[in-house]
């Protein structure tokens, strides 16, 4: 990316409060404002919470199926025992 374009983007980011800049000699130092970092972290945290909950539901569903299957087999077995003299 060419420097003029890059600087233009930096200006926009500074105007919107996403970054703060200061001149150090001939260098312009840009620092990310905490607000943006918090917003980004919050998004990933929410994604993680969604996927954890989704995985909870998968596990619950699978174990529920297994339990039903187990109960079905148990009642079949006891029915067989009753039938045999």
């Amino acid at each position: 990316m060419a420097l003029p374009s890059f600087l233009k983007h930096v200006q926009v980011l500074e105007r919107s409060g996403c970054i703060a800049t200061r001149k150090v000699g001939r260098t312009r130092v840009c620092t990310l404002e905490p607000r943006v970092v918090v917003v980004a972290e919050d998004w990933l945290r929410r994604e993680r919470a969604d996927w954890e909950a989704r995985t909870d539901r998968l596990e619950h569903f699978v174990l529920g199926e297994l339990a039903e299957l187990g109960q079905g087999q148990a009642s079949d077995a006891s029915a067989d025992r009753e039938d045999t003299p």
């Binding site: 926009v12 980011l13 919107s16 996927w51 954890e52 539901r57 998968l58 699978v62 174990l63 199926e65």
Partner: protein, 163 residues
């Protein structure tokens, strides 16, 4: 089985991995994913209901789910593409593409693996995102590589908003 593509190291700022030991046979964990009628039952949190419209378990296959709050009207949810479907081993989908590998507006890829162990199944879901920036800011920007491109796209988004 096709050679799995090596995964890049996990980036904690934009990826997440969830692993569980599920005390059930791998076949039943896979089936919970692979059978649309089963997937519908756990994909979304209650009280929302899910309808799996398409679950084409082959590379390029469509993956479409819809959701409803009232059980009557269904709106869009996942509109994606299956990239890998190795029964009882690995499932990969993305919403950056829709069925037939058509580019979409999404930003994530999910890689599910199923490993049989004596106690049951180790199930892992790795969710990869293209950028570190807030999803809302990047909704139209698509994937980005490198700070320069991310910066440019972010700035363009902000310029669009302030105009």
């Amino acid at each position: 089985m096709t050679n799995p593509a090596p995964l890049h190291p996990v980036d904690p700022e934009r990826d997440l991995t969830i692993s569980r030991l599920i005390r059930a046979p791998r076949a039943s964990v896979w089936r919970a994913w692979a059978d649309p009628r089963r997937l519908e039952q756990w994909w979304l949190p209650a009280p929302a209901t899910c309808r799996v419209e398409e679950l084409e378990l082959w590379p390029g296959g469509a993956f479409e789910t819809r959701m409803s709050d009232d059980g009557r009207e269904f709106g869009p949810h996942i509109s994606g593409c299956i990239l890998v479907a190795e029964p009882e081993e690995r499932l990969v989908f993305t919403n950056a593409l829709t069925g037939g590998w058509r580019p979409a507006q999404g930003f994530m890829t999910a890689v599910m693996t199923f490993e049989a162990v004596p106690e049951g199944t180790i199930y892992s879901a790795r969710v990869l995102h293209g950028t570190r920036v807030d999803r809302d800011l990047h909704a139209e920007a698509g994937f980005a590589e490198g700070w320069g491109t991310v910066l440019g796209q972010l700035a363009e988004q902000l310029e669009g908003r302030t105009d």
